[in-house]
């Protein structure tokens, strides 16, 4: 079947078998191996990507179901060589050991922060319920997500990137831990 999918800002037109899973399409056809396969059963969330802005497990849907839609993978987050604030927060909070769950954790954390701009510990843990990590014990992952929330607050970035609107620009970031 013929599909047309926008992945990380580029539109791809391809002929695929209906039974091809989205994660296999991303990895094997498009070479986007940043999205990994962990459990193969829909539990671990390592393969999480965004479909039209919402997190989904790419091993739980077929590539044909993404026809006409927009997919964002971990590889589509950095801008002009700079990491996404959630990627930066994972790095500076040591939120990974082996790193295998990290692409999915980061994609799900971004989804969570879109709904909850300043989540408490419990909200982060609930929001990452569908992502399993076998090494860190989650503590630093939770810290990283909360740190990312502070980094993404209005007015939290470098001065040069701040919004010119006076009301927004004058807001000060609330000090995190």
């Amino acid at each position: 079947m013929h599909i047309s999918v926008n992945v990380d800002g580029v539109t791809y037109a391809d002929e695929v078998e209906p039974r091809l899973l989205l994660v296999h399409y991303l990895r094997e056809r498009l070479g986007k191996t940043g999205t990994v396969i962990g459990c193969d059963t829909g539990n671990c969330g390592a393969c999480t990507v965004h479909l039209d802005g919402h997190s989904v497990k790419s091993c739980q849907m077929f590539a044909v179901q993404a026809n006409g839609h927009e997919v964002t993978t971990i590889e589509g987050l950095a801008r002009d060589g700079k990491l996404h604030p959630v990627q930066e927060a994972f790095r500076s909070n040591h939120a990974l050991q082996c790193g295998f769950c990290t692409p999915g954790m980061i994609m799900q954390a971004i989804d969570l922060l879109a709904d909850e701009s300043d989540p408490d510990d419990e909200t982060v843990r609930k929001g990452l319920e569908g992502n399993l990590c076998r090494c860190t014990g989650y503590q630093n992952i939770v810290r990283a997500v909360q740190d990312a929330a502070q980094r993404m607050k209005p007015g939290a970035g470098p001065k040069i990137e701040q919004h010119s609107d006076e009301h927004v620009g004058s807001r000060q970031p609330v000090g995190g831990e």
């Binding site: 078998e17 209906p18 039974r19 829909g42 997190s55 497990k57 739980q60 044909v64 179901q65 569908g130």
Partner: protein, 272 residues
């Protein structure tokens, strides 16, 4: 694992979908959000010859106000149910139950109607659908028909849907102002319920005017605790613990859970 080969069809209307089901025969399968079906296909527990994807049927999404009841489109996602203000105001129990379904990623794709049609006895949405007297609105080659939840869930992963029929809407009476709670026992995050209890209670003048109690995963399908419901009518809130003992008469592990969790669910529901 890689699923067995199938043909993939994308109808653009409900009638076209029904026509495809008739033409493809009983080995065809409807795919909604696919969050239960895709794992089943991957484990090769099923190998349908064709998948009819109703994901593009926008006419089946969303919640509408229909006077005394709500009409919930079968393709409304769990994520949408969680955030819908009509459901929050008139069927709070459904929101609270949906909050506990799987995980955020699954709730983005999984659908209300898909869960009901999959009819996993451990699935969370069956018990509240039964307890709230939901009615399934079904499209088939002979037109539309309505089936109450009490007749829809036939058994283990089995519903009253014929192979050439599609669930299109679910009608749920309004329970405006009722207290609600879903008490779910499972061992780890995103696991299915061992047992869970869905409860909704209407309080009037300090006493219980009406109660609805549905049990998840105590049988081959959802179970309604009618004895508990009728024992509570006209009683003060303090009658809950005794009434909850009527949730199950057996002496097995799940019978005990049914009684304990019914007590907790009703107590939390009246507490708001």
């Amino acid at each position: 694992m890689i699923p067995a080969e199938f043909r993939y069809l994308c109808p653009s209307t409900v009638d076209e979908a029904v026509r495809m089901l008739v033409e493809e025969g009983e080995d065809a399968k409807v795919i909604a959000g696919g969050q239960s079906l895709v794992p089943v296909l991957r484990m090769r527990l099923a190998a349908p010859t064709a998948l009819i994807d109703i994901g593009g049927l926008t006419e089946l999404t969303g919640v509408r106000d229909d006077g005394d009841s709500l009409l919930i489109g079968a393709m409304t996602t769990h994520y949408e149910v969680q955030r819908d203000h009509l459901i929050h105001d008139h069927a709070l129990l459904l929101k609270l139950v949906t909050d506990t379904v799987a995980d955020p990623q699954v709730r983005h794709r999984g659908t209300f109607g898909g869960s009901l049609c999959h009819a996993d006895p451990a699935g969370d949405l069956l018990a509240p659908a039964l307890a709230l007297d939901a009615v399934m609105i079904i499209a088939g080659p002979g037109g539309r028909r309505e089936v109450p939840a009490s007749e829809f869930f036939v058994g283990y992963f089995e519903t009253a849907l014929a192979p050439d029929e599609i669930l299109i809407d679910v009608r749920v009476p309004k329970y405006t102002g009722w207290g609600a709670h879903y008490e779910k026992l499972n061992r780890v995050a995103q696991a299915w319920s061992i047992v869970a209890v869905a409860a909704a209670v209407q309080i009037s003048g300090g006493t219980i005017a009406a109660a609805r109690v549905g049990l998840t995963n105590v049988g081959s399908g959802p179970v309604r605790a009618v004895d508990v419901e009728s024992a509570l009518v006209g009683q003060p809130v303090s009658a809950i613990s005794d009434a909850a003992l009527l949730a199950s008469s057996g002496d097995g592990y799940k019978d005990n859970l049914a009684r304990v969790l019914t007590d907790r669910a009703l107590t939390a529901a009246v507490a708001g």
